[in-house]
Amino acid sequence: MIRRFFEQAYLYHKGRSAAFHAEEFVLMQLAYPLTSLIFYCLVAAYSFQTANLTSWVVGNAFLLCTHACVFQLGIVFDSDRFYGRLRSVIAAPCAKLPLILSNGVFPTIFAVCASVFGFLIGSLIFGVDFSGVNLGLAALCILGAMISASCFGICLSAIGLMSDSMHLVLNVVSYFLMIFTGAEFPISQLPLAGRIVSQLMPLTKAIAAMNGLFEPGDGAFWTLMAGELATGAVYALLAWGIFRIAERVARRSGKFDLF
């Protein structure tokens, strides 16, 4: 079963990336997100009139997962529908949770790589000092954040069963991540409703936890990481729930879409 899970994960990855050459794949996974990181750090440097860009490098390095976790993972079921595979997926007599989770394996790996790369390049360009940071906890924080973001992406992909405008949904969500996670400006600037939304978003707590690692004596790391993983788990369960509903509706109505 474990072997089948990883085989399925590899097949999903192959399906998503087979059309690209290695250099194009790297361009897509790293160059584009990295340019975004540099761009938003420069905007922050100019608008906040600061040379200390640590929190923006941290926030934007986490947001580098957006491409893998939101844009790639978010259109999984949309693509399944497009390529005519959705009927096999829904009608197959197998457990759907492993199938859904296997979608997230490679995007999580790439998101972790993109994030680490973002931290490295960000620290080189903007002079972020990692000398006082516990690197083990930082790695754990990145891994936890990417798992949570992947679960969020899977939930978005399940929403693809209810909407035919996934490009619109995913692009709006990518901006929500920038506005509500505290990656581009402090969450405290948002009104109360915005601060509540920010707690429901993935990455918010992981970004706060990572920022805390740069400030010795900040003891909220484990609480924040537990919160981040719980947020991811809720999104994974939500995806599973939507998929179950879609399955039931498909069997009753004889069609594969909820819209």
């Binding site: 160059a31 584009y32 340019t35 420069l42 608008s47 506005i179 600037q189």
Partner: protein
């Protein structure tokens, strides 16, 4: 020719508006960008939010519309199976493409209005346009520059199978290099040299000068001349590309990608 241009423009505006991605770029993108940029600039000490927040968000939306529409329109025609039809139609193919791009760009100007309305309604921020006539002149120059650069990109992407990938990859770099949200002087000197090779850099500077109020008319028209020169250069490049593609298509007898 004008009739073809006009009808293509109108048809393209209708076709673009029904696409969810274009609707995102046109309607949602400027609103979200205005919110994001306002929150980033609210403590910057800048009193006139028109220069970086409204103009920045509007131009980012405009450029996104261009990236995800004009740049990919030839590919979309291929996907729909209509590329061969418009290529061999009695009306000139470059005129049809130009009509599409002008239609998209004019419709995309709505992003500037949406950005302005968002800033006024949500934040009631002080907005000033000190030199409206200069702004109008700069806007005409900017629209022309965007139309021409879109044509170059559209032709460059015509024979590529990976248009979607490149469309994504050109969006942020140009926003960064052309200083849509911050002055290009923030960039390292070597990068600034690269910025000066892009016509939108001058267009953005002219628009921003007009927002703050043109104090040195000579400098304004000097930058305008640079913009006009680069735009003419790009126009020549797009014509050259159109001819090369036309020749290649006639030799290989196909409009499909390799």
């Amino acid at each position: 020719m004008m009739a073809v241009l006009w009808s293509t423009m109108l048809l393209q505006m209708r076709k673009s508006f029904v696409r969810p991605m274009f609707r995102f770029c046109l309607l949602a993108n400027p609103i979200l960008n205005t919110i994001l940029l306002y929150e980033m600039f609210r403590n910057a000490g800048e009193e006139n939010f028109m220069a970086y927040v409204v103009l920045g968000a509007g131009l980012m939306g405009l450029w996104s519309c261009i990236c995800f529409s004009s740049a990919g329109d030839i590919n979309r025609e291929r996907w729909s199976g209509t590329l061969a039809l418009i290529f061999v139609a009695p009306a000139s193919f470059p005129v049809i493409i130009l009509g599409k791009i002008i239609g998209n760009t004019l419709l995309s100007l709505l992003t500037l209005v949406i950005s302005l309305v968002t800033a006024v309604v949500l934040y009631q921020v002080p907005l000033t346009l000190a030199s409206p006539l200069y702004f109008l002149a700069a806007l005409v120059g900017a629209v022309t520059a965007f139309v021409v650069i879109s044509a170059v990109i559209a032709y460059l992407l015509t024979l590529s199978r990976k248009t979607e990938l490149y469309m994504n990859c050109i969006e942020i770099p140009l926003i960064l290099l052309c200083g849509f949200v911050f002055p290009v002087t923030v960039l390292p000197p070597a990068v600034q040299t690269l910025s000066r090779a892009f016509s939108p850099t001058y267009a953005v500077e002219l628009l921003r000068m007009a927002v703050w109020g043109v104090k040195d008319a000579g400098l304004f028209w000097q930058k305008y001349l640079s913009l006009a020169g680069l735009t003419a250069l790009y126009a020549g490049l797009s014509l050259l590309l159109a001819r090369r593609i036309d020749r290649r298509v006639r030799i290989s007898a196909t409009l499909e990608v390799a």
